[in-house]
């Protein structure tokens, strides 16, 4: 399966926030989108997820344009975990996860639907929270609940918008482990992320964005160079290799 975006632009009113960005995403691949605040990362993901209509450009799945498919059909292929998760506070965790089955059901949930929901909740360890209100869960639990909701949707493509933004380091690692697990299952995963270390370690490819443009797309080693990071972020970063690991951190004396 291959998901392609060809010269996608996104506008809010007359303000263009994404300018002709192209990318492709294959089964089993993790693509991280990095870039400074306001570079158009979230808008790009929203366009890919069908949340906002691209002003120009074309989205296609296995060569056929998404515009030729129904909304429900697209929803069976593309799952999205947004950045803002402050809705649904008066819903229970089970009610939230069940929402993911919407593209697959007309009215009543079948036993198969419930098995998918159960499996999704088990997979991200939220089964014990089923009856709890979402407002009573912690930030990490809530993130897992939304991941379970997207898993229950059974898409081939997962789009995450800053999934680790409100999480401590343990939960950040947990989320990225899940992302790796999804790619191992053959799912295509696109993640908007701020932490360059996570992008470097978990991405098969990295898209660097700046000012609404896709600056470069490729392997982490090719995209995340000291010069390019300085050019885009305006910050000098140190790239320190130790064994097979790479550590990226600011050159504090130059900050």
């Amino acid at each position: 399966m291959i998901f392609e975006a060809d010269k996608i632009s996104v506008r809010y009113g007359s303000h263009e926030v994404v300018h002709q960005v192209s990318l492709s995403l294959r089964s089993g691949e993790v693509l991280c989108v990095i870039g400074p605040n306001g570079s158009g990362k979230s808008s790009l993901v929203k366009a890919l997820a069908g949340v906002v209509d691209p002003f120009t450009g074309r989205l296609s799945l296995d060569g056929s344009p998404l515009s030729s498919r129904s909304r429900k059909e697209i929803a069976k292929h593309i799952g999205y975990v947004p950045q803002n998760l402050h809705y649904l506070t008066s819903s229970t965790v089970l009610e939230v996860v069940i929402l993911g089955r919407r593209p697959h059901v007309h009215w009543s949930l079948s036993l198969h639907d419930l098995q998918v929901v159960e499996e999704a909740m088990k997979r991200v360890h939220v089964s014990h929270l089923a009856d709890k209100l979402l407002s009573e869960t912690s930030g990490g639990e809530r993130q897992r609940v939304f991941l379970a909701r997207t898993l229950a949707q059974e898409p081939d493509i997962f789009l995450f918008d800053e999934p680790t933004s409100s999480l401590d380091i343990k939960h950040q690692i947990e989320v990225f482990s899940m992302i790796k697990w999804l790619s191992a299952l053959g799912k295509a995963v696109l993640v908007v992320v701020h932490d360059l270390n996570f992008a470097y370690h978990f991405a098969d490819r990295v898209l660097l964005m700046h000012g609404g443009h896709g600056v470069t797309l490729g392997k982490a080693d090719d995209v995340m160079t000291k010069e390019r990071i300085f050019e885009v972020y305006g910050v000098s970063m140190e790239f320190l290799r130790s064994g097979s690991n790479m550590y990226i951190f600011p050159e504090w004396d130059k900050v």
Binding site: R71, A75, L99, V105, Q115, V117, A130
Partner: protein, 361 residues
């Protein structure tokens, strides 16, 4: 704990069973209220006698025979009034429930959005100028003009609220204040109409604004029933989509819902259902708020069950309130709108003091 104790399938089925039991109980309560309301009144009749009258009217109707006093009381007065109360209660409750889901705001209802005031203004315009309109276009009946105008102005008020929520967001403060403003504007309009019209129409409008089942007759029921039932079925068919809206517009869109279209058509249909009823009953407040809140406390947020449950609760509340209104000071009636204000006020004081957060968040 074992996995089976955590089984979401078991949780789901236990919730579903509980929801169906609650729904069934409310259908029973509604039926019991219906039977009680038929019997209650200054003209005393036994249940057996009432049953005979209805069975005879349904299966052994003889148009040539003159109606007895008992038949006139049951078939001519109480039954159409009860039917109108049930349909109005259902419409307002479901409209409130759906509007709350569409605008993701638990304090929204036909009453708080100003729809009731606007629809009543439309109906008052039809009362004052309807005769002139029906004389120009003879195929229009007086009832059709009243329903049409009530809907037109109700819809205008909802469009106004919709535009405000698009521009300024759908926070409680913005929506409720907009509803208050709309209420003032249309109340002023009604005042003007009262000032310029004759005594007969003035009395008609005044009764209207008190809110009551004064306008109940079979013609009204035959206009309201099909509109209400079709609207309720349509809204129920959108229950899944309404559920997804609770996760925010972005998630709902990603789940395949055409959010803008759902919001527009959902508001249109719920306005149509409630305006059609309000055209005959005048302003009836709080049902659109109370019924969905009680429903949520009992069965949660799943609109597949919440919509029918709210409909039954709304019907029971309005039917019992109307029965009290016409029997408490027999033979004098008090407007049911007065009772609704009292019950509604007490209910919301209870919610505020208890801080029921599943409902109020």
């Amino acid at each position: 704990m074992t996995d089976s104790e955590h089984s979401s399938t078991l949780h789901y089925f236990s919730h579903k069973r509980r929801n169906l039991v609650v729904l069934f109980l409310f259908v029973l309560i509604l039926f019991a209220s219906f039977v009680y309301a038929l019997q209650a009144g200054s003209y005393a009749l036994s249940y057996g006698h009432i049953f005979d009258i209805i069975v005879q009217a349904l299966f052994h109707s003889d148009d040539s025979a003159p109606l007895s006093a008992e038949q006139i009381v049951i078939l001519g007065f109480r039954l159409p009034r009860i039917m109108l109360a049930i349909l109005t209660g259902m419409s307002l409750a479901v409209a409130g429930c759906v509007m709350q889901a569409l605008l993701r705001n638990p304090l929204v209802s036909p009453f708080t959005l100003g729809l009731s005031s606007a629809a009543s203004f439309g109906a008052a315009v039809a009362i004052v100028f309807g005769a002139a309109l029906t004389s120009v276009i003879p195929i229009l009946s007086e009832n059709a003009v009243i329903v049409g105008f009530a809907f037109l102005f109700g819809w205008l008020s909802v469009l106004f609220i919709y535009a405000i929520s698009k521009m300024k967001g759908s926070s409680s403060v913005t929506l409720i204040l907009s509803g208050v403003v709309i209420g003032y504007i249309f109340t002023a309009g009604v005042m003007v109409l009262k000032y310029i019209t004759n005594d007969e129409k003035l009395r008609e409008i005044t009764l209207w604004l008190m809110g009551g089942m004064w306008g109940a007759n079979w013609d009204a029921v035959l206009v309201v029933a099909p509109i209400t039932l079709v609207c309720l079925l349509w809204l129920e068919s959108k229950a899944w989509d309404l559920n997804t809206l609770s996760a925010g517009d972005d998630v709902a869109k990603n789940l395949g819902v055409d959010v803008e279209w759902l919001r527009f058509t959902g508001l249109f249909v719920s306005t149509l259902a409630s305006s059609a009823c309000l055209a005959f009953t005048g302003i009836i407040g709080f049902i659109g708020l109370m019924a969905p809140h009680i429903g949520r406390m009992l069965i949660g947020n799943d609109n597949r069950y919440l919509i029918p449950c709210s409909a039954c609760i709304g019907a029971v509340i309005l039917l019992l309130s109307d029965t009290v209104a016409r029997t408490i000071f027999m033979p004098v009636e008090i407007p049911v709108g007065v009772i609704m204000y009292i019950i509604g006020g007490v209910f919301f004081m209870f919610l505020i003091l208890r801080g029921h957060h599943r409902v109020m968040q």
